[in-house]
């Protein structure tokens, strides 16, 4: 490498390190003055970039380039070493005097090793059991929500919803009274029309005054089905685009969901408040192994 090329390289490196120094000082001043994210990022990038440039130019221009060659030793050990390892390991099977064990001794050794294996295996298994403390057993949790017979329908502020509150084409996220925010009980209240409708046979009295209520938890992967497209009466889940028909009991018509959203049967009480007749008639949310038990 010629002297002038070295000189040039040295100059470049000096400038780069100067930039680093200035930027680092700038960072300290910036922090003392209150900081600012964009300037922090830029100054840090300049400081680090200067160092990076310095090292790379040094590697390319100032330090020995080579190329150098190194031989590869064969990876496998020599036969002698392997044999040696084997015989050293087999000391496990020698007796107290270092003699090769008799057939009986070997059998005894093997028996002990098997006992040891059983002991360790049992201990390992036992050690797994505290893991079960990490979570309760599912039990009935997935099969019921907080909705009960007569639960009053309330909005997210806890205010009861009256039968006159929603205009036709309106939608609201509701909960059973006293359980605002209960994840499994989140329900979408829709004023689909202004008169009672039957979404499916057997549900003639579930939708008074055109109010339909469905579990908001998508039956595909659990996202809230928040998109009510009222002019085509569809519910769209934003996560994987499952689409449900509001007027036919939230039947899935597109996307990966295979089951309708469970419907909450509604009624209107003497005060004009909306209430649930009873809990959903099936588990809400995504499927699982024994959902149809």
């Amino acid at each position: 490498m010629s002297v002038s090329a070295e000189q040039r390289a040295t100059r470049h490196i000096a400038v780069a390190l100067g930039l680093t120094t200035a930027s680092a000082l700038g960072l300290a001043v910036l922090y003392a003055l209150g900081g600012q994210s964009q300037l922090e990022g830029i100054l840090l990038a300049l400081a680090l970039g200067g160092l990076g440039y310095a090292f790379v130019v040094a590697a390319r221009r100032l330090l020995p380039q080579g190329p150098f060659t190194e031989d590869r030793e064969p990876l496998a050990s020599s036969e002698a070493d392997l044999e040696g390892f084997g015989s050293d390991f087999d000391r496990l099977y020698q007796d107290a005097e270092g003699e090769e064990g008799s057939g009986q001794a070997l059998a005894r050794r093997r028996f002990l090793l098997r006992m040891f294996g059983a002991a360790v295996g049992a201990m390992g298994l036992a050690a797994l059991f505290p893991i079960a403390s990490l979570g309760p057993r599912p039990g009935d949790a997935l099969f019921e929500t907080k909705w009960r017979k007569g639960s009053r329908v309330v909005d997210e502020q806890g205010k009861p919803v009256k039968a006159g509150d929603l205009k036709v084409g309106g939608v609201l996220t509701v909960f059973p009274e006293g359980w605002v925010g209960a994840a499994d009980s989140q329900t979408l209240l829709i004023r689909a029309t202004d008169h009672a409708i039957t979404t499916r046979p057997g549900r003639e009295d579930w939708s008074p005054r055109g109010y339909v209520a469905y579990s908001k938890i998508c039956t595909h992967a659990g996202c809230p089905v928040g998109l009510y497209q009222h002019s085509i009466q569809r519910l769209l889940c934003p996560c994987h685009q499952s689409t449900f028909e509001v007027l036919t009991g939230a039947t899935p018509v597109f996307g990966p969901a295979t089951r309708a959203l469970p419907q909450l049967p509604l009624m209107v009480d003497e005060n004009g408040d909306l209430r649930a007749q009873h809990d959903f008639d099936q588990p809400v949310g995504p499927g699982f192994w024994n959902r149809e038990r």
């Binding site: 990876l75 595909h220 969901a257 192994w289 024994n290 149809e292």
Partner: protein, 477 residues
């Protein structure tokens, strides 16, 4: 001077000079693509540095608090302590936001560089004997990186990442027989449960980083023991390594790379806003935003969940619900095949020899074609993961987009295989002769030609290639 005296002081206690000499003289081959793994390594260093800083401010607790910090739109809002501490570090801690953003950008680049590195290893056949073990270690490192990425961005307990957690819970629930029990175990009960944020913290900060550091040491240790592979070239054989010595040149180069990686992460961390959790709001189980997306490296799973038709298995009153197939089965098969690939290839090529010289992808048309096809498959899934954003941006019907992608996910990989295969064949069919049939000629000053021994410096002579029919390669001498 001082260094020599220090070295003697240490050596008289450790006897390390001999070992240190070997280390300093280690040769590292020089190709630029061998530095990709180092990009990942340095991203990890940056993640640990910024991550430790963040742990001093983050509160891994789901307990409900009321916000009184400086971000006005959320003042008075109810949120978890975890979310509040994230807002605090973003708005009320000097340099907090840039640290958080550098951390997140470094994570995106970390996983990206791991995958580019893995792809390089695959297409050059660096996973062949004796490096099958290191391949398995590397794939495990990728899985751990994915896990840490997902747990990491779920920690702030914001609306967007919470939606992702709900999906993860449902996928876990969908496992036959054990699903609900596993979901309750991991989360500590029914979704969302009060325990998940603190558990994610333990996983993200302690368990997975410990595993990564441990396996990374094995990964690098194997590399040092087995020495790096190298491309064919003049003077390079199966029996040597040609390149820079560790000290000082390689050290300088790699330190330079470290600072550049850090500089890029710092520039992004300051200039490009990432994961603005204050816009998403605190997580509420009943709320969701349209256009919800996971971080890019989970996109392929998201696309699989979206493209899957509404099929599920129902047998004798039990069911295997829909999310199981794209959410558990697909990644399970994916990673099983990736892990097993060195042995799968050995089975088909019957090549169990040691290889320290790398393939050029064009010389392995079947492997290269398969690799490109599989990559295409996952890229299509990845793009499909954003089908709603694609639809709203290009004014298309999202339903149509889904149908189109369902077709593309099968058609494009097949096309990609065919095109790649033919391209490889075409490129490698250019004048290649077996090495022992080549003669190196030199022009004498009188104008005649004389044969010279291979290995002597001769400017302008191309590297000899190897002509193979498909995958048959005789074991190297």
């Amino acid at each position: 001077m001082l260094i020599r005296r220090l070295a003697r002081w240490l050596d008289s206690r450790l006897g390390a000079a001999r070992f240190a000499r070997t280390a300093l003289n280690k040769v590292f081959p020089d190709h630029w693509s061998f530095m990709i793994g180092e990009i990942a390594l340095y991203c990890l260093v940056i993640l640990i540095l910024t991550g430790v800083y963040l742990t001093f401010f983050f509160v891994p607790d789901s307990r409900e608090v009321v916000y009184h910090g400086s971000y006005a739109p959320l003042r008075g809002a109810h949120m978890s302590a975890a979310y509040q501490s994230t807002l605090r570090v973003s708005f009320d801690v000097r340099a907090g936001l840039v640290m958080r953003q550098i951390h997140h950008w470094a994570a995106l680049i970390f996983i990206g560089s791991i995958i580019v590195h893995m792809v390089r290893i695959f297409f050059t056949g660096a996973f062949r004997r004796p490096r099958e073990l290191n391949w398995a270690v590397g794939v495990t490192l990728l899985l751990l990186a994915l896990a840490n990425g997902f747990t990491g961005y779920s920690l702030p307990d914001d609306q967007l990442s919470g939606t992702g957690l709900r999906i993860a819970y449902s996928v876990l629930e969908s496992v036959p027989f054990l699903g609900p029990w596993m979901a309750f175990l991991v989360f500590g009960g029914e979704f969302p449960s009060d325990d998940i944020i603190s558990r994610l913290f333990t996983i993200h900060v302690l368990i997975v980083p410990a595993l990564i550091v441990g396996l990374l040491s094995v990964h690098l240790g194997l590399l040092v023991r087995q020495k790096h592979t190298q491309f064919r070239g003049r003077g390079r054989t199966e029996r040597n390594v040609v390149g820079s010595k560790l000290w000082p040149t390689f050290t300088a180069k790699t330190l330079g790379l470290f600072f550049f990686v850090f500089a890029v992460c710092a520039a992004l961390g300051g200039l490009a806003q990432i994961n603005p959790v204050w816009l998403y709001g605190p997580f509420k189980a009943q709320a969701v935003s349209s256009g919800s997306q996971p971080d890019w490296y989970i996109g392929w799973l998201e696309g699989a969940l979206r493209l899957m038709p509404p099929w599920e298995l129902r047998v004798a009153g039990f069911e295997i619900p829909n999310p199981f197939f794209p959410g558990v089965l697909l990644p399970g098969v994916t990673f099983a095949v990736i892990y097993a690939w060195p042995w799968i290839e050995q089975r088909f090529t019957k090549d169990r020899a040691e290889h320290h010289l790398l393939d050029r992808p064009r010389d392995r048309p079947v492997r290269t074609g398969l690799g490109v096809a599989v990559l295409t498959f996952y890229v299509v899934l990845f793009v499909a993961g954003g089908d709603d954003v694609i639809a709203s941006h290009f004014n298309l019907s999202v339903n149509d987009v889904v149908y189109v992608f369902r077709g593309l996910v099968f058609v494009l990989p097949a096309v990609a295989y065919y095109v790649t295969y033919r391209l490889c064949k075409e490129l490698s069919a250019r004048a290649r002769l077996p090495a022992d049939e080549l003669a190196l000629l030199a022009r004498t000053p009188e104008g005649g030609y004389v044969e010279v021994e291979p290995g002597v410096e001769e400017p302008g002579v191309d590297e000899p290639g190897v002509d193979e029919e498909d995958e048959e390669l005789s074991p190297s001498s």
